[in-house]
Amino acid sequence: MLPVVVVHGGAGQIPKERSEMSTAGVCRAARAAYSILQGGGSSMDAVVEAVSLLENDPSFNAGCGSVLNVKGEVEMDAIVMDGKMLRSGAVSAVRNIANPVQLARLVMDKTSHACLTAEGANQFASAMGVPSVPQESLITEYSQMRWKKNLTPDADPVECQMGKMGTVGAVAVDGEGNISCATSTGGMLNKMEGRVGDTPCIGSGGYADNNIGAVSTTGHGEAIMKVTLARLILFHMEQGQSVEAASDLGLAYMRSRVHGLGGVVTVDPRGHWAVRFSSRQMSWAAAQKDTLHYGLYTGEHYTQSINAH
């Protein structure tokens, strides 16, 4: 059953013409992460690689392709967590960085802190020699078009957010049974400057514990924070629920208690995995036992050999 990696490209509802690119993107990320795991790499290396690829892919709301804040700027959030030691690293409202997930990992590995924010996160990036990239390199025509559209007074950014895939993320278990998660996002469409969503908040955007499992979440960030969705799902698993049942219980609770939609990828230490979402779509892919699994709509589950292209 091990190793295994599961990635998501965000919960939401995407136009048909963009759905193929999203599916191709998550499949590519899952394949790359799986090959790291097969080569003996750690689950942390695998999830950071998967999320970095999704950040570099303009189809997703993370890194290049991030949604814009109300001022038309890119501010990004990311988290990584190592389930062995419960160590984590996060950045919030960081700018001009191509791969926030890699910066989050540096926060975990190179500081005694777990989260750095805004200018402080950028100062740390330069101290670490992480190159600063021009903001334009993170902005796509599509994200600019959607930003303008949502500046109108009657726009509903939460509703419209579901019009593009949200946050990206990954969970993995490596051959040694170590579990990790990573999540990265451009946040919410036309958010206020400085808005921090669920993604960099441990227990909301993700959580990993070798004794229980790992979750990476996506969806309406404020709703996810209210129920600390990742930790909630893991509590259900601690109580003996399966990865599917625990994920469904967490998402159903979020829907009934705070009327929020979202999606999750979940693994347990034995390599059981689940992809669940209450939104209309979530692009996802998983790799296990040389098989690639992927889908987009509820109930959709395709498989092919990991080596087929």
């Binding site: 005694s112 200018e119 402080g120 206020m192 908040c201």
Partner: protein, 310 residues
């Protein structure tokens, strides 16, 4: 239904010279929170009022008297949560604000978001006419000296905490007569923290959590350890499983000690008015007002009481 307020002034090795001021400070804060409830205020009003009293008191590391970061600046974190709706508000790394807990409440009530950080949080403060104050007015001579002493100490935070010299967070939890619970937490963070460091305090589920179906919790202690175990949410989950607030707090703090070698403290209240103040650090100043009696303590297992002055 009886109204209860519990507050803490941080779990750490409070030095003797700060002991009396800390105990007096938490008692004053708990009494202020309770008087808000008595006048018909809700749980959110009470926790905000109690935390403001401690932010304004230089004996505590929040608002006035906050610890300085490596650049010698004051950057504050705070959160508030309403257990009736699970609505939350938080600010991280905000500067020039005397009462970050009130700004966190404004984020909860006046925006579609839960958390604002850095310059964005300060811009929001300005846009709603929130009073800003010069950094110098938040600085105390005591904290400036500590900063001078430590500023070349690269090994930093973890060693600092191990010497039990980490100055910490304030917080409050309350249940009002209608059975609504709320929590609030506010801090200046760890001494000589990196610029932009965000600890547990503003993170929902770590620095605090409130849910009318289970209870409310506010945490303090080594921030990075609290984050690792999402301490507030962990305590709430034990309450959900049927544990008393005291057992839930004890179990969770014990887990934090065993799993990630972190010390800390928590205050918790249930919707029925059961409450607890628990810590694994050397000391934690805490106070509770329950049925016109003030309970308070500083040392482990210390539980003093006096009649509420009316």
């Amino acid at each position: 239904m009886s109204a209860v307020v519990v507050v803490h002034g941080g779990a750490w090795a409070i030095p003797d010279e700060l002991a009396e001021a800390s105990v007096d400070g938490v008692k004053a804060a708990a009494c202020e929170g309770f008087s808000v409830l008595k006048r018909g205020g809700c749980a959110v009003d009470a926790v905000e009022a109690a935390v403001k009293v401690m932010e304004d008191n230089i004996a505590f590391n929040a608002g006035h008297g906050a610890a300085l970061n490596t650049d010698g600046e004051v950057a504050l974190d705070a959160m508030i949560m309403d257990g009736s709706t699970l609505e939350g508000g938080a600010v991280s790394c905000v500067e020039n604000i005397a009462n970050p807990v009130s700004l966190a409440r404004a984020v909860m009530e006046k925006t579609a978001h839960i958390m604002l950080t850095g310059r964005g949080a300060n811009m929001f403060a300005k846009s709603i006419g929130f009073t800003t104050i010069p950094t110098e007015s938040l600085l105390t001579e005591y904290e400036r000296k500590e900063w001078e002493k430590n500023k070349n100490w690269v090994t930093g935070v973890k060693d600092d905490f191990k010497t039990q010299w980490s100055h910490d967070t304030v917080g409050a939890v309350a249940v009002d007569c209608a059975g609504n619970v709320a929590c609030a937490t506010s801090t200046g963070g760890i001494r000589n923290k990196m610029v932009g460091r965000v600890g547990d305090s503003p993170i929902i589920g770590c620095g605090g959590y409130a849910d009318n179906f289970t209870g409310a919790v506010s945490c303090t202690g080594h921030g990075e350890s609290i984050l690792k175990v999402t301490l507030a949410r962990l305590i709430i989950s034990h309450i959900e499983q049927g544990k008393s607030v005291a057992d839930a707090s004890q179990l969770s703090l014990q887990y934090m000690g065993e799993r990630v070698q972190g010390a800390g403290g928590a205050i918790a209240v249930s919707p029925s008015g059961e409450w607890a103040a628990t810590f694994t650090s050397k000391r934690m100043a805490w106070a509770a007002v329950d049925s016109d009696v003030v309970w308070y303590g500083l040392e482990p297992n210390q539980r003093l009481k006096e009649q509420l002055a009316i």
